[in-house]
């Protein structure tokens, strides 16, 4: 149902303000199917904001943004079924167990609970499935958030600093997941602080500065 030849991510003239301050001032770029693009830039440059607009969490104040041909404002629901967004904060329920968190997500997404068990195994957390998230380290929470992402098969990955707080195995896991999804015809946009963990998988990088792509 996507318009033929549409890019995985298409951003044209994106503007976004917070109060009176314009954080994004005309961001324009494309990401095609099969690409893994890194987004770099100084702190406060608006990298996370770009991801959040793409993930339909924020509306653009100017410009047009679409995922696989679906406009993020007009077809937000279609975008949500195709996008896997990993925020900087895990956004989990501390007083629920890992398994309960995933089962809740499965219920909300309309996938069976067996999917939750599979996802848990894929990220290597099945032995901690019945522990409360409150006791998890930052790295474990990141893995659980990734598991949640895997409950449906996302076409476009939007990852905000996915490697922070991960050990070598964790970094490898993230790269495996990204490669798998992109190999199937997907695409990924990754906000990065440093290039090293992602160097093996990146196709290219973009740099955000002064609210625009440099």
């Amino acid at each position: 149902m996507e318009p033929a030849g549409s890019n995985a991510i298409h951003v044209n003239g994106l503007g976004r303000r917070f109060g009176l301050r314009w954080v994004l001032r005309g961001v324009t770029f494309d990401v095609r199917q099969g690409e893994i693009v890194g987004l770099l830039g100084p702190n406060g440059s608006g990298k996370s904001t770009v991801l959040r607009v793409l993930a339909t969490l924020l509306k653009p104040n100017a410009g047009t943004v679409s995922i696989n041909g679906h406009d993020v404002v007009r077809n937000a629901d279609a975008v949500r079924t195709q996008v896997g967004y990993l925020a900087h904060v895990a956004g989990l329920y501390d007083d629920l167990t890992a398994r309960e968190n995933l089962r809740f997500a499965a219920d909300m997404l309309g996938v069976p609970h067996s999917g939750a068990a599979d996802a848990l195994a894929r990220v290597g957390l099945d032995h901690t499935g019945d522990e409360r998230v409150r006791g998890f380290s930052a790295g474990m929470q990141r893995r659980l958030a990734l598991a949640r992402l895997l409950l449906i098969k996302p076409r476009v990955l939007l990852l905000d600093e996915p490697y922070s707080n991960l050990d070598i195995d964790g970094i490898a896991l993230v790269n495996t997941i990204i490669s798998g999804i992109v190999a199937d015809g997907g695409a990924a946009l990754i906000v990065l602080h440093e290039l090293a963990p992602a160097a093996k998988v990146l196709s290219r990088t973009l740099t955000l500065a002064n609210g625009r792509i440099a």
């Binding site: 969490l57 924020l58 007083d95 629920l96 809740f104 909300m108």
Partner: protein, 228 residues
């Protein structure tokens, strides 16, 4: 089947809210304790004349319920706000009213449980005489709690995410609950036989109408207030 999907989401959210609330250390107990504390203070401030207290009982119980339920409503969004879980919640497909209905169900259970403690304490402290019409009084209580919780859940979606959440929620909510407060207290007083000229059925119909109107209105308006 879209209907079934939506109701499954409502149930998932309600169950999740209640589970996290039961497991949280300080949750329900402190809110219920606050309700009782307010009753005690009201008793001290309005008493010690037994007749005066008996006359003030209905109003006192409703006020104690109202003031402590404000805490409950903000708390129901606190679950998501503390860990940044609101954004993932908004990214699931499906209509927003399911989030509202789920939170509403969770809050109804919470407030009902609290009322189940506050009302008996109020009966004892204020010397209320039990009457044969107590099932009707329970119904008035249920209708009133429903109205309070519908609007409380709605306004807390905004207040809990703004500055000065502690003052903004009561400021928005309390004037809106004037009809509920009047109808619930007047109907209860009539049923208790405290006001001779008072007919409870009109008040009960007002409560019912209020509940229906605002349930529909808040369900429709919720999608506009829950977005980031």
């Amino acid at each position: 089947m879209a209907w079934r999907d939506n109701w499954r989401r409502v149930g998932a959210i309600a169950r999740k809210d209640l589970t996290t609330e039961l497991r949280a250390k300080a949750g329900f107990n402190s809110v219920a304790s606050l309700g009782v504390t307010i009753l005690v203070l009201l008793g001290l401030a309005l008493g010690p004349d037994a007749a005066a207290l008996r006359n003030a009982a209905v109003g006192a119980v409703w006020l104690a319920t109202l003031f402590s339920s404000v805490l409950a409503f903000n708390r129901s969004y606190q679950v998501e706000l503390e860990t940044g879980a609101l954004e993932p919640l908004l990214l699931y497909p499906g209509p927003r009213w399911t989030v509202f209905a789920g939170k509403l169900a969770g809050n109804l259970a919470f407030v009902s449980l609290m009322v189940a403690i506050v009302v008996p304490v109020g009966i004892v402290l204020f010397g209320v005489r039990i009457v044969p019409e107590w099932p009707a009084i329970l119904m008035v209580l249920a209708l009133g709690v429903f109205g309070v919780t519908v609007l409380g859940t709605f306004y807390a979606a905004m207040a809990s995410r703004s500055r000065a959440r502690e003052v903004l929620l009561p400021l928005l909510l309390f004037p809106m609950l004037v009809p509920v407060l009047l109808a619930a207290t007047m109907a209860t007083r009539a049923l208790l036989g405290l006001d001779v000229m008072n007919d409870p059925s009109a008040w009960i119909r007002l409560l019912l109408g209020f509940d229906v109107i605002f349930l529909v209105a808040t369900l429709l308006a919720f999608e506009h207030v829950i977005e980031a």
